[in-house]
Symmetry: C2
């Protein structure tokens, strides 16, 4: 593995885990020393993380750990809904590859199994992986590299990703019902794509993203579950410093 990639991954972990505080300046020499690399790959890694949004350029040069207002995350999730709706619509309009649809259906069965009440902790963990895969397949079904790239950029922020709040949700009451609704969305969108019902497919994915928005609000008022959200430490809550 290249030093650049290694630095990018480790730096991302340090940020998302909260070891590097939001607002903290990331000087190249200090990061380089911490990661045991030279300034060149560290610089490249910082540029990539800035692209992802985890790090923000400082006017006088260099980068600092970024933080996110609740409204921004709101917007990012809604934007994901619109983009995934776009992808679902394209898939329905143009027709999705048979193999992709078949895999989505297989995934639906496995997700049903994972979400059959009572849901164990492992069930949630399994669901996170399966759900992420499902959303990847949806993008694949649209068959557009341009759309895939764009969605990838939004989803790069972990709390904007489809599975961002699922684990935190597990710690909340009534969480099992939310999963049931989410599953229904998944099932219905596959059906809509198969039947070439474009408007329905789009509307479903938009509504689907709304579940994440609701989870966001719930989680923000529960310090314990917020810790379960990857990158949750970067979230600036309303009325906080």
């Amino acid at each position: 593995m290249s030093q650049t990639l290694s630095a990018q991954l480790r730096l991302r972990d340090l940020i998302l885990s909260g070891e590097l505080q939001p607002g903290e300046r990331l000087s190249e020499p200090s990061v380089a020393e911490r990661l045991g690399a030279s300034r060149t790959p560290v610089r490249a890694a910082l540029v990539r993380l800035a692209e992802e949004g985890l790090v923000k350029p400082i006017p006088s040069g260099g980068f600092a750990v970024n933080s996110f207002a609740e409204e921004e995350i709101h917007d990012a999730i809604e934007l994901r809904g619109t983009l995934e709706g776009h992808a679902a619509r394209l898939a329905a309009e143009r027709g999705a590859p048979g193999g992709t649809l078949a895999e989505m259906r297989r995934l639906l069965v496995r997700m049903d199994e994972a979400t059959t009440p009572p849901i164990s902790e492992d069930g949630f963990t399994d669901y996170v992986a399966l759900n992420a895969h499902f959303h990847e397949l949806l993008v694949e079904a649209a068959g557009s590299a341009v759309v895939a790239r764009q969605i990838g950029r939004v989803v790069a922020l972990p709390f904007a990703s489809p599975s961002g709040f699922v684990l935190a949700q597990a710690a909340l009451p009534a969480s099992q019902c939310v999963l049931v609704v989410a599953q229904e969305h998944h099932r219905a969108v596959v059906e809509a794509i198969e039947h070439r019902e474009a408007a329905r497919a789009e509307a479903l994915m938009r509504e689907h993203a709304r579940l994440a928005r609701r989870n966001l609000e719930l989680v923000l008022h529960d310090q314990d579950s917020l810790r379960l959200v990857r990158g949750g430490v970067l979230i600036r809550r309303r009325g906080w410093a």
Copy 2:
């Protein structure tokens, strides 16, 4: 100006003007010599252009000038329509700042003047600038940095930008009618945002982007007008090498 920014701008110009051919490998030493900079800023510029999409990473390392299939541009324009529709909907739902709306209305008047038949060549040039500004204001009206950033990424590709095909359009018959329709969209979307008609605002911007798709098809069958499209040399036409 920094060497990095200078290299980025000049390299972008070289690519969009066709001086660097699509598919051509851009080795750091050769580019550095051409631009009179050292490898470090050239490398940074290449990374940024790769982010924009003008340049594509090569598996074995380094970058090559990218090219675009007609379908990709299709998709990029439709994606822009969806994102601008998203922005228009947000603006209508949440309410746009009064100042922004006022400026959009002022712009409408000036665009009307520029597009009153018969339209001179200067009229088209003026319209390009005014149109670009109008679309920027639409994004501003949505009041979301997340959305603005995302739209900015799509629009970075010149032929996916709102004014990408306007100049080429000037060389085509019936072009004046298209401008009239586009203007009607502009007028209507401002009205929709003012009246908080979210669904209407969104649908209008989607349809608005379709005009660009139609222009794309027209232009692709007219070699002369294709030359007027910035970055047109990067477009791979169907059935071409």
